[in-house]
Amino acid sequence: MKEKDKTDQKIAISTRKVRKSFGAMVAVDEVSLEVEAGQLRAVIGPNGAGKTTLFNLICGQLRCSSGQVYFFGRNITDMPLYKRVRLGIGRTFQQTSVFSELTVGENLLLATMSKNIGKDTFGSRGVSPETEVLLEKFGLEDHIRAQVKELSYGDQRKLEILLGLALNSKVLLLDEPSAGLSTVETTEMIRIIETIKGEITIILIEHDMDVVFEVADKITVLHHGRVIADGDKQAVKADPTVQKAYFGTLWKSR
């Protein structure tokens, strides 16, 4: 039964006590969080805290051992990955996984095709016009016919996010978008995130605290699979448990 509760329309993603265990090891331990529509939520935590596992649970790459996941009030706990993607959850990967042998245009074609898979599936292939608009926004329009492996690493990361947008995702899960980027490219990445922020809901995993504090509306901190802090930037910064978890080493106040 779809819950038509008004407040649920405002909550893009909600997890209720989701738990994921691999045998004896518990990767995510009863995490409940609510991300409002249009918000940018950063999920941070030391290595092995369970951030990527949580991502995988939300987007559907992994099944929860227990707990539920909701998308705009709809229970998607048992939905497989590709169905959630069609509903409107997109994700990027930490290691660039765009198809490097294809051109940029063809990658985007793949992304835009999946919604219309019934029509013209056995038809010929062409490059779709909607992708051109997106490319311009990202400054990649010159590269539409370039093979992805010819692009710089930063441009490839941009393409990752672009694919998520091309899917018309309402919720985008960004997995360490600035990983491996230079300072200049990171600034560019921040700019891009700022442009798409607000139109869609974004959940962000990041290690780069500059990016986090620049773009995040709210921050959730994970440690050993549990939420140890959840709130706005100032609150999280000042939280002693968070500082303890990081041992103060990654923590540089701006």
């Binding site: 590709y82 056995f122 292939r125």
Partner: protein, 315 residues
């Protein structure tokens, strides 16, 4: 343009179907003329090549394009051949078109089961499950003497419409052309692109919203039907079907054709079929150790020419 999806189509659907086929006109002409120009023995050799080519090319769609190493492809061939053998001898059913409809339906059913079970696994396990499935069917064929003729198989299968050599040759040739265009269209369409995407990075394709299981399943069903067409015609060709049409030896030969010819190029397996049928014909006359050579060729082609003959030219 890119390496993975070489075809960008323009124009109407008909144009899309025949695009890029000009070089094949020459081959078509050669095939048309063959029975008139060469002694009948060679015509029958070409028939054999064409049928194996259909079999190998459809295997390539599964292996080369979708990335599914399946030893169960031979099930389509064998089930088709056996159905035809069982039904058309003893005069039970000789109407060719009804037979073919039954064959297609049965093969789709069998492959539906095989696909469902095998796709519960991936990679090596997938190969194992398909191999086990095929061999289990072999043992059923051997044990069920009453129906399948056991180890000896079924002989005396009549040709449809009692066709003579030449008419049968043209019949097979027509079937080959139809199948070739069907397979070509399958891989060059958007769906074919999805299959290659699945081969390259299945998780990514799922993250783009594609039901990859369904795509793989469709590929298995389609290629199974192609294999069945080849197997049925082969049974008519030989007038015989036996457990070898389900087994291991046939699987290996088709696999070798794909490897030698070039995986992931539709034309490669055709080249592989030509090479292998000719080789087996020539060598069988000199030595009884064709199996040994087959095995050795297998190993050599994996080690020395992993891309296959056509692979080197096209990629």
């Amino acid at each position: 343009m890119s390496d993975l999806f070489p075809i960008q189509a323009k124009g109407s659907r008909a144009a899309f179907l025949v695009q890029g086929t000009k070089p094949y006109l020459f081959l078509l002409a050669a095939l048309l003329v063959a029975p008139l120009a060469v002694p009948p023995f060679y015509a029958s050799l070409v028939t054999k090549i064409l049928l194996f080519a259909i079999f190998a090319m459809s295997l390539d769609i599964l292996m080369g394009y979708t990335g599914l190493l399946s030893f169960g492809h031979v099930v389509g061939w064998g089930v088709g051949a056996y159905l035809v053998g069982i039904l058309s001898t003893d005069g039970v059913l000789q109407n060719f078109w009804i037979l073919m409809i039954l064959v297609v339906l049965s093969v789709v059913c069998v492959n539906a089961i095989l696909g469902f079970l095998a796709l519960r696994t991936t990679g090596l396990y997938f190969a194992f499950v398909t191999l086990a499935f095929a061999e289990i069917l072999v043992s059923v064929a051997v044990k069920w003497r009453k129906v399948t003729g056991g180890v000896d198989g079924i002989s005396g299968v009549p040709r449809p419409w009692a066709m003579g050599e030449t008419s049968f040759y043209y019949f097979v040739m027509a079937a080959f052309v139809v199948c070739f265009f069907l397979m070509r269209w399958f891989v060059h369409s958007k769906f074919g692109m999805l299959l290659v995407g699945i081969r390259e990075n299945e998780a990514r394709m799922q993250a783009l919203g594609y039901n990859t299981w369904a795509c793989k399943y469709i590929a298995i069903l389609f290629t199974g039907v192609m294999a069945a067409v080849a197997g049925t015609l082969f049974c008519f060709f030989n007038g015989y079907v036996g457990p070898g049409d389900l087994g291991f030896g046939l699987s290996g030969q088709a696999l070798l054709m794909v490897l030698v010819g070039g995986m992931g190029t539709l034309v490669g397996p055709f080249v592989g079929a030509v090479v292998l049928v000719l080789l087996s014909n020539i060598l069988s006359a000199y030595t009884g150790h064709w199996m040994f050579i087959l095995g050795a060729l297998f190993i050599l082609s994996v080690m020395v020419v992993p891309k296959g003959i056509a692979g080197y030219f096209l990629k």
